[in-house]
Symmetry: C2
Subunit: 159 residues, 2 copies
């Protein structure tokens, strides 16, 4: 995979409707994560309505960015760990088991946000991803997500 | 405050633009939290585009709901701790210092989500809030948010 290709482009179509990162969700954020072999980078510019208090980015948006970017990083790191090409079968489908976020400094609106994610632990069924969010050359938010392989119960919609 | 009045209705206008819970943000989620003296309840029905994988709610939306609902709970609990009417001055303006979320079970789309939040620790500058998210009579997500009084640096937009 070239660094220019978003990890999300390798998700199968049925997993590409995610509000955060689904390329097929026209209402969503369409987060794109790019893997360079060691870490994944995502750039995102919030809309003016993604506001918390005047001048600052909404924390729930930041949580969303960290969540999707971490899941993409988990998939990319898993392919890398097995020496396989991203998107090759069997594919990796991760869901978020837990999300821990520390808001270290307010994140200004009107800046490009840069998310940097690295796998801290890459197991077969569980990947722990550490994420940093930078804006205007300052570390603003630190996150950690635990990604687990999607349970069979999520393979089909409930009901 | 009657239980029927959302806590967010007492936020001053300049703090009512939040994407998650600002009544003045037409693009936002407009989360409403109601305090009954011991806990706060918020009901929210996700839109079809708030999807993770087919049939299930997006985790970033859930993080957003927990975040805003916890901050409202922190404000309501702080007024209660001082025996003051919500909205009376000086007002409480909390921001999220940290957010920890455990996704215990997938949350089905198409259901009303019920968020139940209780203050676990109510200090003058820091309130810890425990949140549960229920859907279809099952506990789906557990969250904890640390709310801190808003720093002076956020009183004015950066720039």
């Amino acid at each position: 995979m070239k660094a220019a290709e978003p990890i999300q482009d390798f998700y199968p179509p049925e997993f590409s409707h995610c509000y955060g990162c689904g390329r097929l969700n026209d209402h969503g954020l369409q987060i794109e994560s790019r893997w360079d072999g060691e870490q994944a980078i995502a750039l995102f510019t919030p809309e003016p309505h993604h506001i918390a208090v005047p001048g600052f980015v909404y924390g729930g948006l930041i949580a969303s960015l960290i969540d999707c970017h971490a899941m993409a990083t988990a998939a990319a790191a898993s392919y890398a760990a097995e020496g396989r090409a991203p998107g090759s079968l069997p594919d990796f489908r991760f869901v978020t088991a837990s999300l821990n976020i520390d808001f270290l400094a307010p994140t200004p609106l009107g800046e490009i946000l840069e998310l940097q994610a690295r796998p801290a632990e890459t197991g077969r069924r569980k990947v722990v991803v550490a994420v940093e969010l930078w804006a205007a050359d300052q570390l603003r938010v630190r996150g950690q997500a635990v990604a687990v392989r999607m349970p069979d119960t999520m393979e089909q919609p409930p009901g």
